[in-house]
Assembly symmetry: C2
Homo-oligomer: 435 residues x 2
């Protein structure tokens, strides 16, 4: 079954908003075992929206439209679908009542325009999920087969352009409805192993034997996962396992078994699964060990702290960060000995300083050259990382394990800084696993 | 003249990469006075790429293809264009030599595949800019007019998918070539005024009279700019002025005059122009005044420091930041009196602490509730900001001006944190302008 995505909105064509909705839907379709060969962006123009939907129907079985469901005269997706279906729009009394109630409840002024959102093409149904004011639509229709002329059932979905509203409708209704129409009775799912510390070609080499084996298994009709790599910059490299089986339990079994095999081959390179991030993993490891964390940053300027704070519940582990951008601040506040600051020695002194000043069990530090210019005669990308790990509850007092490394990170200024963050947290993770 | 964008790459359809290239190109086309009604994403499939290009030619005068110019067998844009043109690919000796020289110079291994990048459809030309290994293409062709059957000249451009390579070619060659073909002899340009502190509807109200006036001027054929608003989240609201005239000088004159008028109406809300950011503006103001800056952050976790460090040359002004995520760190390191920390008093103490601890002339601080949970019984979005401004060279010593405000920021956790950053820097800017 082929599915196309049509993103509606002049602001998308003008580049005022980047269309990330189509990308997200494309990813979900692939995971659901549905093919998608084209994605189109079109402006807020009735004729052109209808033209694009008609074209999509001519080469695919289903079309998902995102955007253009708002209350204003510019929001034309409903009208365009009605035109393609060859029907009128009708007001749904139920939807109208819901909209009126919504505005009443929030004490907001409603204009007559808002009732446009209660309109649907005759023959269409509303999508049950409705996280915002815009209802989504399921619009079945028929088109003649180009060869036989026989009527073939097709379907158009309309979901809002607001990402979380769109996502709730696609995950809640659209994907399952598509799978039912496609006669996909088998279940499909994937699991992503998050890795850090090896290149894509390195990972591919480590998994080459297993991937060949999986190909042979699949050829023989045996249940087998597939493996794919996704480079994700400062988020590391993702190894995605996908499996298909008659039941959801069957899929879960294949994925669990394959995860064991791949983890066996990749060892400590795998730092997490699916939504895990290096930040969340490190915070969990520290929490389990009853340890608090303090950071000293230089070239990252606060990115390490900011990323840690992105994780809900970080506050029981992460106490703070000293961003010592000026060398003076490293010397005065963190107690780094005066001298060059792009060195492992400086990084170690910074980690000890962070631990002491912030009174944490663990201190970590990063200093280096973000570029583009050299600094202290070291090239851009030169980064020194250090960890200082004391006993749980030591709060900056007493002995601690001290380690450091120097690395040469690739890319431009922004990449160097992003890679610095994950490199530092990755170093801490390696040490915590040994405790 | 109508121009379509075709983004090539299966990874775009699968959502592994978000297609931001089309958005960027769309923005440039609009600024160049060229219409663009459709943008399409298509996978690495020869037939489908050719089909999409053919379709685009049927409804537009020019097509810009981005992606699919790499050296591997998956990179099929060259082949697809040759098919659409009805010609063969030929190797360019000059391009081949350049590729061989590039690999030689970098000491990298070259495979025969790399020579695929020296191929071009017969009749095509290379784009002069070539920042990477992939040459771009200009491919003129003809298509019959659907009504008269007369041959109409059309053109396909191929640029790489790597954003900065694509941008260099589009800015350097493609836009001017399109304008020449479109017979656009007039010049068009725009200037963006960056604002902070007023809502979109508020700005629209302040400029409504002027916008009516510009409409009347335009209707009467007089030279007049146009005004558009672009909401940019934590970057503030942009007011874009666009003007068209016979010469570049004429455009510059209209824009300069209009900027004066709009600045007169918006006053201090305008913090910068075009590529200015609130960070760069504040750093410039401090630099002019010979002042150094220290930051104390809580809910932002390091974002203020990180954003300041994004600005090249920040190091002569920005000395560092104390990320005091735990209340203890606020009390111990910054000297905030023990007690509630989501208060203006706490923010003021943090600003003074940052100034003292980091030995800077100016200290700024932010504390608040990022959400989703309440904290100290204050709702998510409650944010307290403070500035402590001493004499230039005071380095944390002596008297200082102290000010603070409490604001209620909208949105979810991430938005609250982003708005906190610009709100804090905006407050500092207001005070610096009075010095």
């Amino acid at each position: 079954m082929r599915v196309e995505v049509v993103a509606v909105g002049t602001e998308l064509l003008l580049g005022q908003i980047v269309d990330s909705n189509s990308s997200w839907i494309g990813e979900q379709l692939a995971l659901a075992g549905l093919d998608s060969y084209f994605q189109t962006k079109v402006g807020d123009n009735l004729t052109r929206i209808a033209e694009v939907i008609e074209l999509a129907l001519s080469r695919s079985d289903a079309v998902i439209c995102t955007g253009g469901l708002g209350p204003t005269q510019d929001d034309l997706t409903r009208e365009a679908i009605a035109r393609v279906m060859g029907v009128e729009l009708e007001e749904s009394e139920e939807a109208a009542e819901r909209i009126i109630a919504m505005f009443g409840g929030r004490g907001r002024r409603m204009s007559m325009n808002n009732l446009r959102q209660a309109m649907k093409p005759v023959g269409a149904e509303f999508i049950p999920e409705q996280p915002g004011t815009a209802p989504g639509l399921i619009c079945p229709l028929e088109r003649p087969d180009p060869l036989t002329g026989e009527a073939v059932p097709k379907v158009i979905y309309a979901v809002p352009g607001v990402p979380w509203e769109m996502q709730e409708m696609v995950s809640g209704t659209v994907l399952a409805d598509l799978q039912r129409r496609a006669g996909i009775t088998s279940s499909i799912a994937s699991r992503t192993l998050r890795t850090w510390g090896e290149s894509e070609s390195g990972l591919a080499e480590m998994l080459a034997g297993r991937m060949d084996e999986l190909d042979r298994l699949a050829d023989s009709g045996a249940p087998a996962a597939t493996i794919a790599f996704l480079a994700s910059g400062g988020e590391g490299l993702k190894v995605r396992l996908t499996a298909k089986a008659a039941t959801a339990e069957g899929v879960a079994d294949i994925l669990a078994a394959e995860e064991q095999v791949v983890r066996g081959l990749l060892g400590g390179l795998v730092f997490g699964v699916d939504d895990d991030t290096m930040e969340s993993v490190v915070l969990d490891l520290l929490r389990e060990r009853g340890m608090t964390l303090g950071v000293a940053e230089s070239l990252t300027g606060g990115m390490v702290g900011s990323r840690l704070c992105d994780v809900p519940g970080a506050s029981d582990v992460f106490r703070g960060s000293v961003v010592s951008y000026a060398s003076d601040v490293k010397f005065e506040l963190l107690g780094v000995p005066e001298g060059p600051v792009v060195t492992e020695d400086a990084a170690r002194a910074m980690a000890l300083g962070a631990r002491r000043v912030l009174r944490t069990d663990v201190g970590i530090a990063v200093t280096g050259v973000a570029g583009p210019e050299r600094q202290e005669d070291r090239p851009a990308g030169t980064v020194c990382l250090a960890v200082a790990i004391g006993e749980p509850g030591s709060a900056g007092q007493g002995e601690c394990l001290l380690d450091s490394i120097e690395v040469r990170l690739p890319g431009r200024r922004r990449q160097v800084r992003e890679f610095s963050v994950i490199s530092l947290l990755g170093l801490l993770r390696r040490h915590l696993l040994e405790i």
